[in-house]
Symmetry: C2
Subunit: 316 residues, 2 copies
């Protein structure tokens, strides 16, 4: 017997797009993982791209509601959605879905982003809110590490505040465009290890501890220079310098974002990056674990349910 499909959840980012066909409990019946991101869709033909993506499912299963999340709701995407101010949760986000008419899929919905525009310094996210709401965290910290790491505090199932850390992008800029990259020999260009088998290096953990050590914000401008001098004085081998720099930045990020450190940290990322962040958090005496890979579809499903796009289990 084929499970009845209740929702199509599309996590549509800048460079990638993943679609999931979900049953009445939010479990995936089928997935498409390698569709083009918004930069890969020519002439902004998002209507046609989505239609082609979900056509096979729609053809055999009839009308199924569709919820899109991620950068598809940005100015560069299909249609710009609002930012819902933090603190916020499922109810407000569901009430702020943007409805877009399509040529042959009927109406689809785009999940809004979140902002903290009422804070001294505004911050924004778009797409991560859906994953956070799908991570099953009631009270704790969630981190989505990467180019721009997002750290969110969840209380009573609501996102009460969040902050962006430019860790991954700063790592790449330091590695590729400053003197720090000169002595490095290994091919690693991004924060993310090259293969799942990649072990956590001692130089990474030493970097984590040094990066998290006491000091003001400016200490980081000095501390990263140690990657050069530790290399020059051959205290760290050339093939471990990139790991050390990565550790310095991730250690500084975690120590700042998890201040106090009493909350469990849920890492929402690829297996490799999760391993790296969990090891870093543990090296700092913090409690961390990885989230299931289904956060985005689970989050979209929860939002769709709150918006009554999906009927409760057992209903017709």
């Amino acid at each position: 017997m084929t499970a009845r499909a209740r929702l199509i959840a599309v996590d549509w980012g800048t460079t990638s797009c993943r679609a999931s066909l979900l049953d009445a409990r939010g479990n995936a019946i089928a997935r498409i993982a390698d569709a083009p991101g918004i930069l890969g869709v020519g002439d902004r033909k998002f209507d046609e791209a989505l239609s082609a993506l979900v056509a096979p499912w729609r053809k055999t299963r009839g009308h199924i509601p569709i919820v899109l999340s991620g950068m598809i709701g940005s100015r560069q995407g299909w249609k710009e959605t609002m930012y819902v101010p933090c603190p916020t949760g499922l109810t407000e986000i569901a009430a702020s879905l943007l409805t877009v008419a399509t040529s042959d899929l009927g109406e689809v919905r785009i999940v809004p982003g979140l902002d903290t525009s009422n804070a001294d310094v505004p911050d924004v996210m778009r797409g991560e809110e859906t994953q956070i709401l799908g991570a099953g965290v009631v009270d704790g910290l969630c981190v989505l590490p990467g180019t721009h790491s997002k750290w969110a505090q969840v209380e009573g199932g609501r996102i009460t505040r969040f902050a962006t850390y430019m860790t991954g992008e700063i790592y790449a800029a330091l590695r590729g465009h400053t003197i720090l990259g000169r002595l490095m020999t290994e091919p690693r260009l991004m924060l993310e290890p090259q293969s799942p088998a990649d072990e956590i290096a001692p130089a990474f953990l030493a970097g984590v501890r040094a990066g998290a050590a006491a000091g003001g914000p400016g200490a980081l401008l000095h501390r990263v220079f140690s990657v050069r001098t530790l290399g020059l004085f051959e205290r760290i081998p050339a093939d471990a310098l990139a790991d050390h720099l990565s550790g310095l930045l991730i250690g500084a990020e975690i120590a700042d974002a998890a201040h106090g450190g009493k909350r469990l940290i849920t890492v929402i990322a690829s297996d490799q990056l999760t391993k790296r962040y969990v090891a870093a958090a543990q090296a700092l005496g913090l409690l961390a674990h990885g989230a299931p890979a289904t956060c985005a579809e689970r989050g979209a499903f929860a939002i769709a349910k709150a918006a009554r796009l999906v009927s409760p289990v057992g209903a017709a």
Copy 2:
């Protein structure tokens, strides 16, 4: 009457070279400011380059001792000098001059660099030690801001410790190779203002205060993202974003390096950069002033005197 020349001081860096002909009190009789830096000397022909540089002075004035400082003493320069460990002062540095034989100038001396290799994390400088010793500071902090800002603590005329902050290079990497540069419209590519008339912008000073605000090292990874969001939310105009980023980094640097802030800060830099650092320090309630432009030649003269290369005033 022509003053008697006692020393030729050459500040020979990676991209520029300045030579000064000094009298018995260390005052300049003549200067050459635009000679090629070590990267501009083909085939490492430093012997020939120096000879051509000082030939006119030697021709009319006979033998004059020559002291070189800066990256000319690095592995990429003429001959690599040692690093003198900190704390150190004129006596040890003068005793560690490297003597190099030349084809027609006799022996010349290269000033060694300094290091803190006995510290947990080593640090190095090469060339800045000469400027610091020539700044006339007995007790206080010296900063040589730029690509790699050097902060040195001077006590009893000796350099007791120092630290490098990658402020200028990180500014350029963030500006040129991350999302932070995208919204920026003004042409400023470096920390240094474009013209002496360049006013200190309010966005720069706001950045300085925000950059220096409390927080751990990781706070900087988050704080710089505000350059993006303050631009997106139009709280800072596009043409002031680069100034704001520059302020964030310089504020963080100064707050960390001047911790405590009870010592007078002497800024050794171009007029424009000095103006920027003095304004930033003052915005943080710190006392700062600019050093005379003659620090490098004054420092070389003091080292030469300590090495008895220059006879005391009044001697034959």
